[in-house]
């Protein structure tokens, strides 16, 4: 993939290995992807496949073993507030209220409360946490916590938002609510988002573009455009077909493997 000039965040032949010599464990190899202004890209991969590692590389939290990451065309040198990150869980400060957590980005930069109070207030309204503003994280449900985490990252207006399985710890119902919430936020703010998940449905539903990262070493094994309207309804036949296809891609770890999903075959394989 050639570098697109307007790419906000991109990586080129990105690779990451842990350990040394014979213990060397290559988690990611030759990843190329780019995120344009207004993009919503989802990355689908199996658990332990290196999805979090990829996000940490893209956010500058980890140094790549090979290849490079570019941010606005410049090599990314480390953590920057312009790239926001939302973790799966356990990232709220337990001694701060919802309001304080959301405003923390300003506070930790040394800004005065009166200069950011309004922005925090607007954000609290946007994520519908008005009634919970004085509550502490342990008094919130899992879904509320994740809304706080997303709000905290968004309120400082990052150029890109990285989300590492933000809804994985939630049950199906809540997960669906928050998916809708995230889509709405994305449409409103048009912040480019890169979301990692192991949930096929979520990957199709949220992204404009879907990238499947295979296992050992993690490489991009499939790329699908999911911008069309039919991918916004989870019971649309095309949605279901793609979902089935991606599930088999994940299972066989290859986009060229049999694309039809055969439950009977899998069952008999288990019996042998």
């Amino acid at each position: 993939m050639s570098q697109v000039p307007s790419a906000v965040l991109s990586c080129h032949n990105l690779g990451k290995s842990f350990g040394r010599d014979r213990r060397r464990d290559t988690v990611l190899a030759d990843i190329n992807l780019s995120l344009q202004q207004g993009d919503f890209v989802t990355i689908l991969g199996q658990s332990g496949g290196g999805k979090s590692t990829l996000l940490k590389l893209m956010g500058g939290f980890l140094a790549p073993s090979s290849g490079s990451v570019s941010f606005h065309g410049q090599p990314l040198k480390g953590i920057t507030p312009k790239i926001g990150m939302v973790f799966q869980e356990h990232s709220l400060y337990p001694w701060m209220t919802v309001e304080q957590n959301i405003g923390f980005g300003f506070k930790v930069r040394g800004e005065l409360p009166q200069s950011y109070r309004n922005r925090v207030q607007n954000m609290i309204e946007q994520v519908e946490l008005d009634d919970a503003r004085k509550r502490y994280p342990h008094q919130l449900s899992g879904g509320m916590k994740q809304r706080v985490a997303i709000a905290r990252s968004l309120v400082v207006k990052p150029d890109v938002l990285l989300l590492d399985e933000p809804f994985s710890a939630l049950d199906v119902q809540l997960r669906r609510q928050l998916q809708a919430f995230l889509l709405a936020i994305w449409r409103e703010t048009s912040t480019p988002m890169l979301l990692v998940t192991h949930n096929v449905e979520e990957a199709i539903l949220l992204g404009q573009r879907l990238i499947v990262v295979g296992d050992r070493p993690g490489q991009i094994i499939a790329e699908v455009s999911t911008a069309a309207a039919e991918f916004r309804g989870r019971y649309h036949p095309k949605f279901l077909k793609l979902q089935r296809h991606l599930e088999s891609v994940l299972e066989y770890n290859s986009a060229t493997a049999d694309l039809e999903y055969h439950p009977e075959e899998t069952a008999s394989a288990w019996q042998n």
């Binding site: 507030p81 973790f87 990232s91 337990p94 930790v108 342990h138 400082v156």
Partner: protein, 275 residues
Amino acid sequence: MSAVGFAMFNPKFDQSWKRSVLSVTCGLISCIVLILLWEWMGSSPENPVTQVLPPPSRFLPVLFESDFKIGLGSQSASIYQSIFVTLLRVLTGMTLAFVGSVLCGMLISLSKWSELFILPILGLIAPIAPIAWVPLALVVFGISNLTAVFIVFMGVFFTLTIATVAEIKRIPDNLLITAKNLGGQEFNVWRMVILPSVLPGVFTLLRLNFIAAWMAVLAAEMTGLRDGLGAVVMTGRNLFNSNLILLGICVIGITGFAVDRLLLLIQKKFFWWQV
């Protein structure tokens, strides 16, 4: 899960005030039963137990008879003064140790090398019980409040410093990464994330170490210092007055208990979170 853990999820115990009323009531009942038993055993003057362990009805009047003053001549002090002196010593020492150890622990954590060089020394000094510092402190500082403060400080400081370093290591990565990701300056991350993350854990340890510090100060007051609650007990011994000894012991027990509760209250009010 333990019975306590179960009770916490039992809706009947849901309201915490109900639980605390229950525990206070039960505690009071068992204290009253103990005192009644004690009074009953000590009711006959011939009973040898009465000589050594006079019941409250005998030693409490000592307080009023002597106009709350205990001791002889110029050395006499009111019981309030004794409580105040002992408390002041313990609390000053603990406050200094708490503040100092959190600061030192954070400084040590700044560099891998300072951890490698300094932690082993702290590890060697920490196991020395506060009481073991009494003779040294008496030699160095003589008979002064400084002696007692020094004992408490030495007994608590090293343990708490090690705990601070350990607590800093335990802080979840996400909390630190998030702060840096939001654009936090290094100093603000230490002040706004690392410090609040370690305070509850270190304060818990301070609370657990209070008893040892308390005992050490009493020991110092019994052996070298001339005032405080420990000195009250020793005065009783010197006068062969078991009423006075018992009075001192009871005041020590009640004061220690009260401080422990106070610390618990502080913890619940100011350092209630867990990272």
